[in-house]
Symmetry: C2
Subunit: 417 residues, 2 copies
């Protein structure tokens, strides 16, 4: 029986989430007996609640294929966590109502932990209400903190960006250090997990010997020890490169610089660790410092995406469709690393119940004993994920961007407040 | 008569300054009757004062060619301004002494305004002392603020980086804006000149309509007007992208956030405008914001260099040698834009006396009437400079870096304090 599909992007976007979307839409076309139209939620799940469904069949094949080269979330994403079902089932009921109105039999939710949880709950509610729907969560997060999957689409590209930027900036700093800046601090994303910070360690080479220090959220920040490390590096190499996770915490377990605002998931909004560390160094060691906070730049840098990451982002989009038409429910296509000597991978289904709301931190064995670097084990894990360049087209010197039509289907229901 | 050459890198480095160096070294090899060895100053002019001269003839041809793909200053740069000759001629006399000891007949100084001034003074001193030396200053600065030359090597690549990053981050912001971040602020370099900020304007496309606001150092910052503009953009598009120069000043002519430290040229060290503006917006308009400060990343991003910029960086290095062997003195090879419809350029010599210590700001005609955007004239000027991609080799997922031997010649003089 042919039914429509609903696809939504959720949470912070990545440079390859649109590649997942494009791959899903193109794969769905291969199953015309199972899947009718693919509707994309305008601004993620909010689009479903508001019955704002973008009809992807109105876009040309070329436009859909071009999406593979465009960062951000082409249909809009959102930071919106549904209320607990027990506290307020209204939102879930509304979703089922909208799905029913548009004959949606497949729910694809492209996001992180929270999204896996939402997809899981909807699959349970569908079963309870007797509404047939296949719920597939598709992995996406630069934080790389999803359980079960070997890595998360989006992460490899940020890792490549941070490793490259650390290397490039280290070469710059080295040139300047004799008479000017001695310390450079790069603040990276990753929240509670040090995966992105660890990727900075891949920049290490004999020319710059950088980064000298990596600050992980998994290791409590010790100011005295940190300053001593900086001093040692400057004495030895003449300069010091620090990669600092936005999520580092002090010995009391508090974020170094909490900006006092929280997002709609209740997470604290971070940022500002680099200027904070910079002033610490200047004040205590009198070194001239420079600091950088790439923020969105790191996760939207499609011009420097990892080819491995791009291929995995495409693969999870395609597999999600295949699983759904096979009748699987409440699963996520995860990336499994094969036990081969040369890196290779495959996609396999994993149950959402084991993924929802679980956060995978950087293992202690990936961090050096002293807590400021990465181990061989970490390098072996990380290096394959940043390999290969995922070329894009340029126009007038900048990446080419094409605009989608984003045509919404007619509403059938009352409006949602 | 065959004499040696001295080459030094000065001031903040760029992603293509090594391409100038490589091109100069390779071109010098074409004139074996005029030029013996090319010595590079270890850490710029400091290397000449200390008699730390790197013998570039000890490097393999492959290593020199590889330099074309490596950001930063391979021989070390410095922020060191010679004292005024009138106040203290000792440094100039020492330079002549070192040059004499190593039979240096050619002085190539690769930098900005200050370096042009130094080269100019040394040429005058050489003439005064009867020491034959050809002094050529070679343009280099991401700030694009040198007089006479149409543009400065290093600028086109930063411009490409900032235009690309603005576009990529705008696509990210657009995806998130419905339920989360509404304002994104990107702080860019450029000191007193708004050239780099203007380059952000090249990101503009119909998909994101960004950047909505550019803050130039040439236009006094008006807080009330700025906040109104932000509010308007959010009302219209749902989000607002701001590109802010690090050098913007308030109505009293003070930098918005002066970090109270100065470099050795006496310039104030800037940085922190983006977090400052971000808190202004949050406090006054209650929008969620994100901000980025790419700092060194923008000027060392060789992976995203402009091909036009790379070619010009190579050309000025080659022409510097040609001018010197032709017997020219106290000149700079500058980039001249031909009056053709399609962009084309050539290199011509210009007198240092007209370049030294002059700062070229962004013309008012390049800024829109309201002071927050760029005009068609600016786009026509900027766009050709960011065109073309200057590909690099990758190894294990990050740009390939090879280490130079950096062998110094034996010292002949007493040490310099």
């Amino acid at each position: 029986m042919k039914r429509n599909a609903f696809y939504a992007q959720s949470g912070g976007v990545t440079s390859v989430i649109n590649a997942t979307a494009a791959s899903l839409i193109l794969t769905a076309k291969k199953y015309p007996k199972h899947i009718g139209k693919v509707y994309a939620g305008k601004n993620g799940i909010i689009g479903a609640l508001r019955e704002e469904l973008i009809d992807t069949s109105k876009e040309s094949m070329t436009s859909i294929k071009n999406l593979m080269e465009i960062p951000g979330g082409a249909f809009g994403s959102c930071r919106y966590k549904l209320k607990k079902f027990e506290d307020d089932p209204k939102e879930y009921e509304r979703l089922i109502e909208v799905f029913q109105a548009h004959d949606i039999g497949y729910f694809f939710y492209n996001g992180g932990n929270d999204s896996a949880d939402t997809a899981y709950k909807i699959s349970k509610l569908g079963a309870k209400l007797g509404y047939a729907i296949k719920c597939i969560a598709i992995p996406k997060t630069v934080d790389n903190d999803l359980a079960l999957t070997d890595c998360c689409p989006g992460f490899g590209s940020v890792a490549k960006y941070i490793a490259t930027s650390t290397q490039e900036a280290s070469l710059d700093l080295k040139s300047m250090s004799e008479s000017s800046t001695k310390v450079f601090i790069l603040e990276v994303m990753g929240r509670h997990a040090g995966w992105i910070a660890a990727a900075g360690g891949l920049a290490r080479n004999s020319t710059t010997n950088s980064p000298h220090i990596i600050l992980f959220p998994e290791i409590k920040f010790n100011q005295k020890e940190f300053l001593l490390k900086v001093k040692k590096a400057v004495s030895k190499d003449g300069y010091c490169v620090v990669v600092a996770s936005e999520g580092i915490k002090n010995t009391k377990g508090k974020f170094l610089t909490e900006s006092n605002t929280t997002d709609s998931f209740g997470h604290a909004q971070l940022g500002g660790v680099a200027p904070y560390l910079s002033s610490l160094v200047t004040k205590n060691l009198k070194y001239k410092t420079h600091w950088a906070v790439p923020d969105y730049l790191q996760r939207s840098a499609r011009h420097l995406s990892s080819k491995t990451d791009l291929m995995q982002a495409q693969a999870v989009g395609a597999k999600a469709v295949e699983y759904a038409v096979k009748g699987m429910n409440s699963v996520m296509p995860i990336i499994v690393r094969n036990k081969t000597k040369k890196y290779s991978w495959k996609i396999e289904p994993a149950p959402l119940s084991k993924i929802a709301n679980v956060e995978k931190k950087l293992p202690r064995s990936y961090i050096t004993k002293d807590g400021y670097g990465i181990t061989k084990k970490a390098i072996e894990y990380l290096q394959p994920l940043i390999k290969g360049e995922a070329k894009i087209s340029f126009k007038e010197g900048i990446p080419k961007v094409e605009t989608l039509k984003l045509i919404e289907v007619n509403k059938k229901l009352r409006s949602w407040i």
